[in-house]
Amino acid sequence: MAGEWSLVAFTVIGQLAVGIYLFIGGPLFLFGGMSAGSGGAGARLTLVLAVLGFMAAATVLSLFHLYHPVRAYKIFSNIGTSWLSREILFELVFVGIAVLLGFFEWQRTGSPAFITALFVLGGLAGLLFILSMSRLYMLPAVPAWNSPSTPISFLLTSVVLGAAASTVFFGMFTDPPPFYRPLLAVTLVSVVAGLAGAVLLAPGHGLFGVKPGPSLRPPGGGSSALHAARLSALLAGAALLAVVVASKDGPVLGVAEPPAVLLAAFFLAASGEISGRFLFYGLPGRRP
């Protein structure tokens, strides 16, 4: 499963990019955004640049799992039946819309209604990107992947990382927006949902747990250490967030200001999701 590191990087970073687009972009583009005086003037452009940066990183890292990346320009040859072709198509649409949003924000042009519509379209493209990404793994030949747990867990990764990153993003401003405290609560709920998903959708004994059927594929199976690491990291991230939510405006735990604690919570959640993704790729057996 370690050999699939580039796919782990591509899927997790891609889902993070869609997550921050929705969780940070939602308040900024749909619900009034932030006032210029609070340091929010460039917030939209910063978000778009962050999304594009993460998508660029995900794309470059994904090329490492191809043995002939220079031939990858043919990737759209099989849109008709290949979910991998479709995944990259939706990725390009998502990135294209983000580029357009960035351009209009930079030029300070475009009517608010048009920008809002463009943002919504981008969100839909991002969701289709994640769903097609999960669909390509839902193969009858791999029963461990061929269940609703694959799209649910991929979407949960996006929600957990997007929400956790949004608290760090908005916490960096000198005067956090009015929705900041509710956002912290939403983030806590998201990470707890991610933790619940990791338990309920666990391979082997989760809601969609499957016993390996007759197969000519070598035995795979997940790593219990990775599963434990995933649960521990998500639990620790949720605990840190709970402390922040429970505290008022002062230092948290007496050791750090909330942004640092929130950054720690984000990295813990990301560690949990990365462990979970390595676990996912280890489920089917494959010869090296």
Partner: protein, 205 residues
């Protein structure tokens, strides 16, 4: 005219000698570790007490398996660059120069027939010895089998000659890809799942 070439495999005759596997390797000059045809040893059972007597309840048989040139080639459906195609006679071929090496087809194939070739850094698989077949010769594996446990021909003819069985334990559900395969099952195959049989030679396949 052949519209769908198919393999026939007689599990009741196969001794597991692996002559088919080696003939394939030899003819296609496959590097160490790369097998397009593989012989799986399926084994299970043990001892059973019947009354006061312990009797052996072993199930053991072999399965010679390569690409089944499926009627519904899910490998080709999954390939993003259309590097896998199907000829008019049903033979499924990989266009090595087009393959990007993403290896998704390996996951998609229910028969684990697609193998990574570390020399070309692309996927590879049985091509039915299409050049030999085009010249009226049998595929190397069929020609090499000393027990005549393998045969090939048009799928409709194979079914007329040998029946319509496409599955024996632990082959997957054939509806996944509609394999062009006809099997004569071993007598132990029906009991294999109940006896918790499993592939006993993963290191070799």
């Amino acid at each position: 005219m052949v519209t769908q070439y198919a393999f026939f495999f007689d599990a009741s005759a196969c001794t597991g000698c692996k002559a088919c596997q080696m003939a394939c390797k030899d003819r296609n000059d496959l590097e160490t570790g790369l097998l397009w045809r593989r012989v799986y040893e399926v084994a299970g059972g043990g001892w059973e007490k019947r009354g006061e007597v312990w009797v052996p309840s072993v199930v053991a048989y072999n399965i010679s398996m390569a690409c089944n040139h499926c009627e519904k080639p899910v490998c080709a459906f999954s390939c993003p660059v259309k590097a896998i195609g199907k000829r008019d006679d049903g033979i499924v071929l990989i266009e090595t120069e087009r393959c990007i090496g993403c290896r998704y087809c390996e996951w998609a194939c229910p028969y684990n027939a697609i193998r990574f070739n570390a020399t070309t850094n692309t996927v590879s698989k049985c091509h039915f010895c299409y050049d030999a077949v085009d010249a009226g010769e049998p595929p190397a594996c069929v020609a090499a089998c000393p027990l005549r446990a393998l045969d090939f021909g048009d799928l409709a003819e194979m079914r007329k000659k040998y029946g319509n069985v496409r599955q024996l334990f632990p082959l997957p559900e054939p509806s996944q890809a509609e394999p062009a395969l006809v099997i004569k099952p071993h007598r132990d195959a029906d009991k294999a799942a109940a006896k918790a049989a499993e592939v006993a030679n993963w290191e070799e396949v």
